[in-house]
């Protein structure tokens, strides 16, 4: 398939303005004739549903949780970036654009990223107008902080709960529209399939999670805001319900899945402590500002940290990266932690952790100063682990955190299927191969509040509102397939639980398609996943019935899709014979062990097209063109 990114021509800073003017408008009287289906109620979905309803469209909004307020955007801690330059420290739209492009290792579109940086300022204005209680200075102006190694203070925050507050802002705007009747909310519904007609999205099939009914919903456009696929690894910082099903079903209906191998692994998470562990908890990476990362010099050193003398500790980040030390980017810090553990130098019961030590910082600055900076994080750590970080070093280990890959979309955020738009983490994003801290919230809200309200009009202006009714044959056929799938899962009645398979899939991907990858491992993983999938369909045990609230069945459906999707990730990783951002292929590294890009051959988005069950997907390439930035090699020595 030939990909057309539809990036407007003209100078970078004028593209979006020009495009907005060129987009056709929908007559206000006609807007009420159109129904837009929005799946997901996170920052992207909630803001999109609210904004589209405000414009006059009829919106049907779906979420799997009991309330739209619970989407996983709520868990983002750190903050949201914007190029306001309130701090007067040299920030600008261009700088935010450049930092984002460079941070993403030059694997994103210039046009999209520039638009994101432009819109970032409107987001802050909008959120304040909604009543988001951002942190303030004494004088009442908004406070900013520097985040994730950025050299400017451009991050707006609401304590450690920025995601929650932004989501509640979008949720309140959405609630207002639900109250006014413009949005019809369908909570506890899971999208099981996309309905298309002549490569045009005309509706969705959902399962009512309360009673198991399969429901059919027709719309003039479908907007997917279903988040990332980090849970393919089983253990991640994602919510338990986060899944790839909606995006993957769209892929199987003709949307392309781009760069699925780009996953971000966050270095400072609380380590795994047992097989029963269900999720990983992230701690702000600001901890690395004062904490020193180390592992014992000797393999299998099981002494308590305080019994390991200074000379037998290896402050490996400081040793390897003298100028950046403990503040190297996320991917570098993560990879090094894994390397230590792989060498048998990991600490803790599982040997899958390294120390993050505040001893020296406390000695230098006093306990009070450290408490003031990190008190809440230390308390959180102590709550989970029952260890006191003031007394004994924290143990940390990397965890899957964010996925940059997603459904391929053009500049209008429309996928390869007409009328199917994809927003937020669910699309292959503006973050390229690696996302900077405090940028996920920015992108979700940019897409929902300020991009889709324009671009969906451009699409709907070209179609007539006489939508295919949900009673049509294509809907009933699709619904029938969905119920057959659930019935099949229930009928296997094997001997292993759904979680059992999910955990095994996660381990395969973590091992072979995690922080660092190599061809041999990836090939092995591909076979292993295929085997596991086969075993799943022979031996999975899903209790209960379909016409009931059945959480095992919900999980089974998601894991079934993860089992297919995992293979796609591996396929993508195998194809990308370079290292960049979240994709580190061991065969491609600098002498210093850094990611070595191959801009000659891989400066493109790898968008995968589904070609049929059991068949290899087709690779479609969208080359990235850089007219405004120079491609450089990262170095943190």
């Amino acid at each position: 398939m030939k990909l057309n990114s539809k990036i407007p021509s003209g100078p970078l800073s004028e593209k979006w303005d020009k495009h907005k003017f060129e987009l056709k408008l929908v007559n206000p009287a006609n807007k009420r004739k159109f129904t837009v289906i929005v799946v997901g109620t996170g920052l992207a979905g909630g803001s999109a549903a609210a904004s589209l309803a405000e414009l006059g469209y009829n919106v049907k909004n779906f979420c799997i949780q009991d309330s739209p307020r619970r989407a996983h955007s709520i868990a983002a801690q750190g903050g949201i970036n914007a190029a306001k330059n309130y701090a007067n420290d040299g920030d600008s739209i261009r700088r935010l654009f450049y930092d984002t492009i460079k941070g993403g290792d030059f694997r994103a579109r210039e046009g999209n990223v520039y638009r994101l940086a432009q819109i970032s300022n409107n987001i802050i204005d909008q959120c304040v107008a909604q009543g988001v209680p951002f942190a303030r200075d004494y004088g009442g102006l908004l406070a900013n902080r520097s985040f994730g190694g950025a050299q400017v203070s451009r991050t707006f925050y609401a304590r450690g709960q920025t995601g929650q507050q932004l989501l509640l802002g979008a949720y309140s705007a959405l609630s207002r529209q639900i109250g006014s009747g413009k949005v019809k909310m369908f909570a506890r519904r899971e999208m099981l399939d996309l309905v298309t007609e002549n490569n045009r999205a005309v509706g969705i099939i959902v399962r009512n999670l309360i009673n198991g009914d399969i429901e059919m919903h027709a719309g003039d456009a479908v907007v997917l805001c279903t988040g990332g696929y980090g849970n393919v690894f089983f253990l991640s910082t994602n919510a338990m319900g986060s899944n790839v099903t909606a995006a993957y079903r769209a892929y199987k209906k003709g949307a392309l899945f781009a760069n699925p191998c780009f996953t971000q692994i966050h270095p400072t998470c609380i380590p795994v402590h047992g097989d029963y562990q269900s999720k990983l908890t992230l701690m702000s990476e600001s901890l690395r500002n004062d904490g020193r990362v180390w592992a014992p010099k000797d393999r299998g050193d099981k002494r308590r940290p305080d019994q390991i003398p200074e000379a037998e500790r290896d402050y490996y980040l400081e040793r390897r990266y003298p100028s950046f030390g403990n503040l190297v980017p996320r991917d570098v810090a993560s990879r090094n932690a894994k390397a230590q553990c792989d060498k048998g130098k990991g600490v803790g019961e599982t040997g899958l952790a390294v120390y993050l030590d505040f001893r020296d910082a406390i000695k230098r600055d006093s306990k009070e100063v450290i408490e003031k900076k990190y008190g809440n994080l230390f308390a959180m750590y102590e709550k989970i682990t029952a260890d006191d970080p003031y007394q004994t070093p924290m143990m940390i280990y990397p965890a899957v955190h964010y996925t940059m890959g997603g459904l391929w979309v053009d500049y209008n955020l429309m996928s390869a299927i007409d009328g199917l738009f994809v927003l937020g983490e669910a699309n292959f994003s503006d973050h390229g191969a690696n996302r900077l801290g405090a940028s996920a919230l920015m992108q979700g809200l940019a897409d929902g509040y300020f991009v889709i309200p324009y671009t969906i009009g451009g699409y709907l202006a070209g179609v007539t509102p006489d939508k295919t009714p949900a009673s049509a044959q294509i809907f009933t056929d699709a619904a029938k397939k969905c119920s057959e799938r659930t019935k099949r899962l229930l009928s296997i009645q094997g001997k292993k639980t759904v979680d059992d398979f999910h955990k095994r899939l996660g381990l395969i991907l973590w091992e072979y398609c995690g922080m660092s990858r190599n061809e041999q491992g990836l090939i092995k993983a591909k076979d292993m996943i295929a085997e596991l999938r086969e075993e799943f369909y022979q031996n999975v045990l899903v209790p209960g019935i379909d016409k009931d609230l059945n959480q095992s069945l919900e999980r089974a459906g998601r894991v079934a899709d993860f089992l297919e999707f995992g293979e796609l990730m591996v396929t993508d990783a195998l194809n990308r014979k370079e290292s960049c951002g979240g994709h580190f292929n061991e065969a491609f590294q600098t002498e210093e062990g850094e990611a070595l890009r191959d801009d000659e051959n891989f400066c493109y988005a790898a968008a995968w097209e589904f070609t049929g069950e059991g068949k290899e997907p087709t690779l479609c390439k969208e080359p990235f063109e850089f007219e405004n930035v120079k491609l450089t090699q990262r170095s943190y020595k």
Partner: protein, 254 residues
């Protein structure tokens, strides 16, 4: 993870079939539970065991498992989210339980929170209250520069204290009267404390209180159980603020 232990517990879990109005406490054994587990991970282990035994696992709501989404919650030994202060159920760890203990696990109970199945209840009443007025009517796009509105740090902090509510419903579960006042007051306070929220303050508080009443929540009698059990430790000073705003709106605004 110092001092990891394994403990055995007897669970008395509320089981209620979907669509039925009655349920009962069923007894299960939770064996070899690591004290590092969270309460929900303990339930996961029990569910895996039940599944393999051919029994239906216990249905319970949960999502983020880091104490922020507000989806989880059950009454543990008579205490919503368990006995630890300022903690959601997903952040309650098994080290707070003793070996051999009997643990009662019941769903949140209130007329306004209908039971859906086992430990899952319907909290859409909270959404309905927000829909009736828990917002600032600011359409996308019309906002002025964010720094054009000055908000004292004190008020921003107070608003944030109230806005920290995760909407889990523990306040309703804890209240002897199943009142939703802490939840409603948190939202009213958050928006009233900010200058952006002032224009709609009177209409908002009236609409939200009336909706709350219509949905069948009880009346607040200032027993302070909500404040004691709130996982985000929202203060009842917010309830006083709601009362003040309601009285102001009712008697002094036309």
């Amino acid at each position: 993870m110092s001092g990891t232990n394994r403990i055995n517990l007897t669970l008395k879990v509320w089981r209620q079939k979907a669509g039925k109005s009655k349920g009962n406490l069923a007894e299960y054994q939770a064996k070899e539970i690591s004290t590092d587990m969270s309460f929900l991970e303990m339930l996961d282990v029990v569910n895996e065991y039940l599944t393999l035994k051919g029994e239906e696992p216990i249905a319970f709501d949960h999502d983020c498992r880091e104490g922020i989404c507000g989806m989880c919650g059950a009454v543990i030994n008579g205490r919503p989210h368990g006995q630890e202060k300022g903690t959601t159920l997903c952040q309650l760890h098994m080290r707070h339980f003793k070996d051999g203990e009997t643990v009662f696990i019941e769903p949140f109970k209130a007329k306004a929170f209908k039971n859906i199945k086992d430990l899952i209840v319907d909290r859409t009443a909270f959404d309905k209250i927000i829909q009736s007025g828990g917002f600032i009517s600011a359409n996308t796009g019309g906002a002025q520069d964010a720094n054009a509105i000055l908000i004292s740090q004190k008020n921003a902090d107070l608003a944030m204290d109230a806005a920290a509510c995760i909407g889990c419903g523990a306040c309703v579960a804890a209240c002897p009267n199943a009142s939703a006042m802490l939840f409603v007051s948190a939202k009213v306070s958050h928006l009233t404390l900010l200058p952006q929220g002032k224009p709609e303050a009177a209409a908002r508080v009236t609409a939200m209180v009336n909706t709350m009443d219509d949905l069948g929540f009880g009346n607040c009698s200032n027993e302070r159980e909500c404040e004691a059990e709130c996982p985000k430790e929202i203060s009842i000073a917010n309830i006083a603020r709601l009362n003040r705003e309601f009285i102001k709106a009712g008697f002094f605004k036309s």
